[in-house]
Subunit: 318 residues, 2 copies
């Protein structure tokens, strides 16, 4: 599985001591994130606990906590335990939004499993999403000023989701609207995750800035690919209800300016696979620009891992 490879394969096929140690920290961190998320949703209100664990145990790419952890490590942080609650909180923001999304989109499959709303119904799904948000708040409570960063990203996420629902309703999915939507609903959280990792490592402001910029662009790239895969994939392959975005015209806007009149030619292009190729090129351009900034970071395996994260984002098929 491509995701695992990033954290377990050495550079050039050879493990150096340093690489092995840092990979060990990343893996340790990712495992601790899973455990913390599982533990923190414990509740005697069994439906909240069960529905939360259902969506968490379905997995997901965990690209956001990976971003937080790698950003921390790339800035020289080594006390990985310190980052776990923050990396978990960032993933739980995403998880909460996914649960609420599936209510609004009537999604019935998520991460290869039935969605929370399809098992527990809309009312309990709404409350489970709320519950996950409250757990973000609980996890972040001890982190002082860092809360401002994550609060801003969470606000942007809800605004982005709302702009998207408005654009669908008003049939107003231009490329500009599309970029505004994905900047807020996806890129802002990636950005804040990268900045949080850097700040927890007490990195200088310049590191925080280039990592935030990288996270932002990686987030844009991630969402573009996500939307185009939604167009080209099927439900089984994607592990979530496919075609939702097709109805909403989102994937089209990722690549094309214009409305329904282009539908036929776009469908032909989708069938030929051109759309996915174009989106990957566009995503790669975003990454290339942002990667240059990372040059100011110390030359470490984790800096390379951060760059490798972009391959995971761009080359994925689901």
């Amino acid at each position: 599985m491509a995701i695992q490879e990033i954290s377990t394969l050495p550079k050039n096929g050879v493990y150096t001591e340093k690489t092995a140690a840092s990979l060990h920290l990343l893996d340790q961190g990712l495992q601790a994130v899973e455990k913390l998320m599982y533990d923190v949703v414990a509740s005697d209100v069994t439906v909240l606990r069960d529905a939360s664990r259902h969506i968490l145990q379905a997995g997901g790419k965990r690209i956001r906590p990976r971003m937080v952890l790698l950003s921390y490590l790339a800035c020289g942080g080594r006390d990985i335990e310190r980052v776990i609650p923050v990396a978990s909180a960032v993933e739980l923001v995403h998880t909460a939004s996914v649960v609420h999304d599936d209510i609004n989109d009537h999604g019935i499959v998520r991460r290869g499993r039935p969605s929370v709303n399809s098992i527990w119904g809309r009312t309990f799904a709404l409350l489970t999403g709320d519950f996950l948000f409250t757990k973000v708040y609980e996890l972040m409570a001890p982190f002082g000023d860092l809360n401002i960063l994550l609060a801003d990203a969470t606000i942007a996420l809800v605004e982005g989701e709302t702009l998207q629902a408005s654009a669908v309703k008003d049939n107003n999915f231009t490329r500009q609207v599309y970029y505004d939507i994905i900047a807020r609903k996806t890129a802002a959280l990636f950005k804040s995750g990268a900045m949080l990792g850097a700040k927890l490592a007490n990195a200088p402001a310049s590191y925080v800035e280039v990592l935030g910029n990288y996270g932002f662009n990686l987030g844009l790239a991630f969402q573009i690919i996500d939307d185009v895969l939604d167009l080209t994939g099927n439900t089984e392959q994607l592990g979530k209800t496919a075609g939702i975005d097709l109805e909403q015209g989102r994937g089209f806007a990722a690549v094309y300016e214009g409305g329904q009149d282009l539908m036929e030619s776009i469908k032909r292009k989708v069938l030929k696979g051109d759309v996915l190729q174009e989106a990957r090129e566009q995503a790669q351009q975003l990454i290339d620009m942002a990667v240059i900034g990372l040059n100011i970071l110390p030359e470490t395996p984790e800096r390379d891992d951060l760059i490798d994260l972009s391959h995971l984002v761009i080359d994925r098929t689901h």
Copy 2:
């Protein structure tokens, strides 16, 4: 209007200088809370801004921010500006939950106006509730450890709402279940509001404790009256869709142990007004117990105002 009277009427009909000054601070605080809530939901995503302001401008009793402010003043705090963001955050937690409640309950009237979901639809109402939660997070970000108190109350609130939906679904509305529900969904937030006010005034732990206890019991009393008014009132009088709780059996459980078999005798009692009277007596007992603890606080007008808050809660007709 009964709510205003509490902050504008003097004790014994005579304003002392001290009373006038402290009432001035309370009124100043409540006005600043309104302004901050209005301002903080500003967004270029107009539907979020408009829907948020719609529910905020409908008013509401503002009993939670009043609790925070009075608790602060009763502990000797005088820098009222310091409490405004926290009092606003506590009210926004409640407001967010109200918006999500109305989705789940299909409520069409709230605070005498159409509910958010009835104007903007379920999707935008869900996102507006999420947005209000993120604004709580934003407002509280600068308050360090105090976040733990509010996070816990917010978790309890969502758990209480969930227990309630479960009890309705499973037709399992015993008195014990009812108390567990209202303790979490209402009393926990009142309690944390009172404790937050005290902590912001740097009050000793004993003050924080008795105020928390008072807030908790006031919250229980508030919810019992709320549920019984829902039984006995009509939509116009209550300013929200009446009878929702009747269907769910909640108001019954506030007063009676037992199920559907008691329906007829209860309906007769409701018509005679006995239920409301019994609930008021029960609520008064809760308050009487908690008021004793307040004796350790300095004898101030604000301590009396806190006790007067219970009359507002118990004697209200909507």
